[in-house]
């Protein structure tokens, strides 16, 4: 396993039973909750967020509502579109799936949220914030990550439409809220910030494009991609759905839609590496 594939705070594996879930080792924490790996009764893996105090449960209650909306709308889309393997938009792969949210009396009344991450190898997950802190990526690698984030934000626009909302509630963008699974090209939104941007037409695209413009190392041959990011970072007054479409038009023309191995270099070095070679 590559050295940056660690999000686990290894404390030695322990097991505690909470309702139907086996809670195992702690893998992270925020100021409001701790994060554990766990298992459902059927043996499948889950992530459990346990509020640090009873009061901290508010954050998880809020988050549960938001993730539940995402899950509900995704399953509605799935139900109506009845997608085949070829045309499945797979919005469900973009965010953590809320399995349960409850107040646990055996844990001092603290709230616990349980999430599954379908079709993901848990051992290979890493927060985007850690990636951005340690490595740089090539244009193609940055493009699939950014593409997934635009798609996710486009999904928030769909949620607003599906629910007759006059404005879209976009979560504030934070690189700490995403997990990356580099091999399967998965970007998973797993923290819902309490702050959101509630706007009709947004220029929020700018901020995200700018973040990726600064992170990616874009060679001269890929300058069309650089120009795209520069344009979006300068004038992002469009929906995320439009930005996503625009981006994929450029990608198709530049590289075609092919699998690209995660390619990166450690910050401050010049040697490119990719997962295939390791």
């Amino acid at each position: 396993m590559h050295r940056f594939f660690y999000i686990l705070i290894q404390e030695g594996v322990r097991t505690t039973k909470v309702r139907d879930f086996e809670v195992k080792n702690r893998i992270g924490e925020s100021d409001k909750y701790r994060v554990y790996l766990g298992e459902k009764a059927d043996g499948s893996s889950v992530v459990l967020k346990v509020a640090k105090t009873f009061e901290d449960g508010d954050v998880l209650a809020f988050e549960a509502g938001k993730f539940n909306i995402m899950k509900t709308v995704e399953s509605e889309i799935r139900r109506f579109q009845n997608p085949t393997k070829e045309n499945d938009s797979h919005y469900d792969w973009l965010f953590a799936k809320l399995e349960a949210s409850f107040i646990e009396s055996s844990q001092g009344g603290r709230r616990i949220n349980v999430y599954s991450l379908p079709n993901v190898d848990f051992d290979k997950l890493i927060p985007l914030s850690k990636l951005m802190a340690r490595i740089e990526v090539d244009a193609k690698t940055s493009a699939w990550i950014l593409g997934r984030i635009f798609k996710l934000y486009g999904f928030f626009e769909l949620i607003a439409v599906a629910n007759d909302q006059s404005t879209v509630e976009y979560p504030v963008f934070s690189i700490g809220d995403y997990l990356i699974e580099p091999e399967k090209h998965r970007v998973i939104f797993y923290n819902f910030p309490e702050k959101n941007v509630d706007v009709v037409a947004n220029d929020y695209v700018k901020e995200i494009a700018k973040t990726f413009l600064e992170w990616a190392v874009i060679e001269e041959e890929d300058k069309a991609y650089r120009e795209l990011l520069e344009n979006l970072a300068r004038d992002g007054s469009m929906t995320f759905e439009a930005a996503h479409k625009m981006m994929y038009a450029v990608i198709e023309e530049l590289w075609g839609r092919k699998y690209h191995t995660f390619t990166y270099r450690d910050k401050g070095t010049l040697i490119w590496k990719n997962l295939k070679e390791e």
Binding site: R14, D58, G65, T72, V73, N163, D164
Partner: protein
């Protein structure tokens, strides 16, 4: 105060004894009477003894008092009966058993007490019908049939602010006394005039209300103040029927996004009200909403339910000095706030189990 629970049998029996044989026009006689006399039946008239009470039910027990039905939970629903919503009392009467059953299911250990009222417009002869909080089918059926919906309503904005005013300042609820909140629902398809006027308060709640029940009210509160005070005492919700965006956006602006839920029809009230209460109490897992409510409601309702303040009552309950009273608890006097606490039991409950690892 009794120990009669609500039951479908008692509901059917009450309907029979009050001669309610149809699901339509259950208030026809009361409306006719109100028109002829210019007065509401006193059991729904907010102008006669305007205070409403939600009390714990106690029976005498060895010179003390024993709790017969658990902790009371006051739930007030005030329904728009103007224009197209004129027949809503019929709906309330029809769905009553389902409503009570759904609420009781998400409030284990509580004694749900229902005040199902109606409101209209200030231009109407009767702006508000507001019964006492009741928990027995016979009494609820009786007060529902005594309502006098005006079915008119003047212009489009209506006047539910007086129903909100009543819960904020003219209600004595056990929940508030111990530090919990009750529930308040306005069901409407319209916006609100939002003006609170002294002469309207006197017309609705009686000429002497400022000398008696509201003698400490130094100035007439603004609509914003009423909402703020209502929210201090209840988990307050607006259920917007018909998804008209003007009413929905208006109420989200006035009461906050977490307090407004759209519904398609008032027939959904049992599912939606019980889901709101269950989520607020923490007795319903939000991931179950899809399985229970989704069958009856469409996407915007589910969306709004996911946005309410989940677990808000659980938070208040956690802060209480004692567990909420339960059946069989003993009160020294009827005026006591809390039952006698078995000290040794309290100590036991405070100790976390040694077999469970604290995460």
């Amino acid at each position: 105060m009794g120990d009669k629970p609500f039951s479908v049998d008692s509901y059917v029996s009450a309907r029979r004894s009050y001669g309610i044989t149809s699901d339509k026009d259950v208030t026809r006689a009361a409306e006719r009477q109100a028109r002829a006399t210019g007065k509401l039946s006193e059991i729904v008239d907010p102008g006669i003894k305007p205070m409403r009470y939600s009390k714990i039910r106690l029976n005498p027990h060895r010179k003390m008092w024993i709790t017969t039905m658990g902790c009371p939970m006051d739930i007030e629903v005030s329904c728009d009966t103007t224009g197209s919503m004129g027949g809503e009392v019929d709906t309330e009467m029809k769905i009553l058993p389902k409503l009570y059953e759904a609420i009781a299911r998400v409030l284990p250990g509580y004694d749900p007490q229902l005040c199902l009222g109606i409101f209209g417009d200030v231009v109407d002869d009767f702006v508000l019908c507001r019964p006492q909080f009741e928990m027995e089918a016979e009494k609820i059926v009786r007060y529902l049939k005594e309502m006098a919906p005006q079915r008119a309503g003047g212009d489009s904005p209506e006047d539910p602010q007086y129903a909100m005013f009543a819960r904020a300042y003219l209600t004595n609820a056990y929940t508030n006394r111990i530090g919990l909140k009750g529930y308040h629902f306005i069901v409407t398809d319209a916006t609100c005039h939002g003006s609170i006027r002294r002469q309207d308060i006197q017309r609705i709640f009686g000429n002497n209300v400022f000398e008696n029940e509201l003698k400490n009210m130094r100035e007439i509160p603004s609509f914003e103040k009423v909402i703020k005070d209502l929210k201090a005492k209840t988990h307050q919700f607006i259920l917007v029927v018909d998804k008209r965006s003007s009413a929905y956006e208006y109420w989200r602006e006035v009461c906050g996004k977490k307090s407004v839920v759209r519904i398609s029809t008032t027939r959904q009230l049992p599912e939606v009200i019980s889901a709101i209460i269950g989520l607020t109490e923490g007795t319903v897992d939000i991931t179950d909403i899809g399985n229970t409510v989704a069958y009856h409601c469409d996407s915007p309702t589910i969306y709004d339910l996911n946005n309410i303040e989940i677990g808000a009552q659980a938070k208040l309950r956690q802060a209480l000095p004692f567990p909420i009273p339960k059946i069989g608890d003993i009160f020294r006097t009827k005026e006591d706030l809390w039952p006698i606490q078995p000290d040794e039991k309290v100590e036991d409950e405070e100790k976390p189990s040694t077999e469970i690892e604290y995460l």
